[in-house]
Each structure stands twice: as structure tokens, then as C-alpha cells.
Symmetry: none
Subunit: 153 residues, 2 copies
Amino acid sequence: MSTSPNTFTGEYSYTVDPKGRVNIPAKFRQALTPENNNTFAITKGMDRCIWVYPFVEWNKVLEKLRNEPSSQVNRAFTREYSRFASIASYDKQGRILLTSELITFAGLDRQVTIIGMINKIEIWNPNILKNFDQQIESEHTDAFDELAEKIIL
Amino acid sequence: MSTSPNTFTGEYSYTVDPKGRVNIPAKFRQALTPENNNTFAITKGMDRCIWVYPFVEWNKVLEKLRNEPSSQVNRAFTREYSRFASIASYDKQGRILLTSELITFAGLDRQVTIIGMINKIEIWNPNILKNFDQQIESEHTDAFDELAEKIIL
DNA sequence: GATTATTACCCACTATTACCCACAATTCTA
DNA sequence: TAGAATTGTGGGTAATAGTGGGTAATAATC
């Protein structure tokens, strides 16, 4: 365990029970709630998945939103961003409760794939994820190669 | 439940009863009245909705209004913003009483959508909200994309 | 001052949520 | 490898939240 702080990597398979509860991988828990205050943020992702942020990361986003002037467009954006977000905490078994809106949005079925995305966690329907990946990868092979050259040591 | 102070997120569905009462989501109550004095500010929003502020945030607005030079336009703005503002408190069940002016202004029907907007709360007619959002988002797709890039982590 | 209208307070019912316990499966440890 | 601890999953129950309506207190009207 214990890589650099708040760093999520790896892929895990879990189930959403009838009450909408999903387990957070035990290996993610310490990084998700480092101060042991037991709270973090859940929201819609930009792709068709759910994002889970440690509180520190979430507050960075909020800070940026607050600093935008209150124009009509900015209000609309904040609204869109905020309405599916919630502050959550896990129960004694380490699970979180997903709202039905989020479940619908991410197209979640019983089985879900949870992925560590460095500074946040993603929750996917495995099938949607598979299709999504195949599509992006085939459409953007060049971009993939370029990024690899740039980044990989 | 100790998030960052006065932070509202998420979307909730409630009903306005014949007496004009609406529930404030339980999750908002502590952030709305952190000092447990049970009072807060309620006013017309800039969009077609009702805004509910914790006192701390409301006072920031007042402060800014005060610091504007007293031009005719500014006075008119202050007047418009101030005339429908009132100090409210919730009853033992956690509801607030809306004036008929506010209900008319926001076009409220039985069903309302309550949205956490980071530092304040918005009360909408769900249909008006839907149309409003669609319109803004389609007219300002670029601005939305820019903001997303700038803000989302 | 009596009557009516309006507001605020109180109580009650139902649905939802949070909390608790249980147990199987897996991993860790000695 | 056997026992112990941790992890993943399920379900029951107590507590809370959301909604409605009645009644007393207050204000308004005549």
C-alpha cells in the first residue's frame, strides 16, 4: 500500500446491491479519506461514469467555481455541475450509497468496474467501458502514441 | 455533517403544499443555519428561481451592494434585489413558508426542484428549469466546454 | 368588541434512510 | 497449512425525513 498520497491505481470488480450500495476497494479507502473524516465527493463524470473525489481535490474544484464571476452562463454551468454532486461517506462496511440519478446516468447494472484514475476514482458499467475504450482507441491511435512518447519513462 | 462550511450540492424534489410551505432538504439545514439561530435570507434569484442564502453569504452580497457607488442604475438594481428579500426561518419540520410573490415570480407549481449551488440554494419549477438549461447549454456550448477544461480536475 | 382571516405551532402518518448485525469469501500471519 | 483477521455482500430494524392537516394565537376588518 501507500504510494504517494491520494493516488488511485488499479481496476476492481464489485456489485451494486438493490439498495444502491457499492463497495469502495479497501485499497482506496485510506487515500480517499486521508484525514479520517470519512467524507468525500461523488459526482457525474465527463464520460459516462461516476467520479469519486477525495475532499481535497473536490475543494479545489469548488474554489475555482467560486472565483468565476456570476454570469448567467457561469451560473448554469455551476448548476449542472453541482446538481449531481453530493458529499458522501461510507458505512461501517466501507460502502457508499449511489443516488438513482447517478446509477441511471452511468447505466449501472449489478456488476461494476471501479478504476483508480490517479487523483480520483471512476465507477463504470463494464460493458459501456469496453465499448467506450475500443471506440476512443481506434479513433485516436495517433494521439495515444504521441502521449505515450511524451509521458512514459 | 462537516463538509466545508456552507456548501450546498445535489438536487432534490419536493412539494409546495397549499399553505405555501416547502421542505428544505435535511442535508442543507446545518449549512443554512450554522449558528443554529434558525434564520436565513430568501429572495428572488437572477434566473427564474428563488434563492436562499445562509446569513454569512447574504451579508457578503449586502457588503458588495454597499460598496458600489450610488448611481441611478445601481440604486435601481439594489432596489430590485432588495425589495423581495426577507429573513425567514423554518418550522419544526424543517419547512419554510414562501410568499405568494415569490411563488408567482418563480412560477412554482406543486412540484419543485431544489438545487445546491455551492454557496446558496435554488428553488425551481422543474419544467422552467429544464427549458432554461437546455436553452443556455445549446446557446453557449463553447463557454461550457471552456469552463469544464478550466475547472474540472 | 365581535367576527373573520391569516399565520404560526403542534401532532400524526408514511416512506425513506441510516445503522446494525450476520455470514461467506478472501487474504494475512504465524 | 491452520487459524485469525479483513473484505465483500445481504438483509432487518430503528431512526429520521417528508407530507398533510388541525387548532390555537395573532392580526385585520367591520
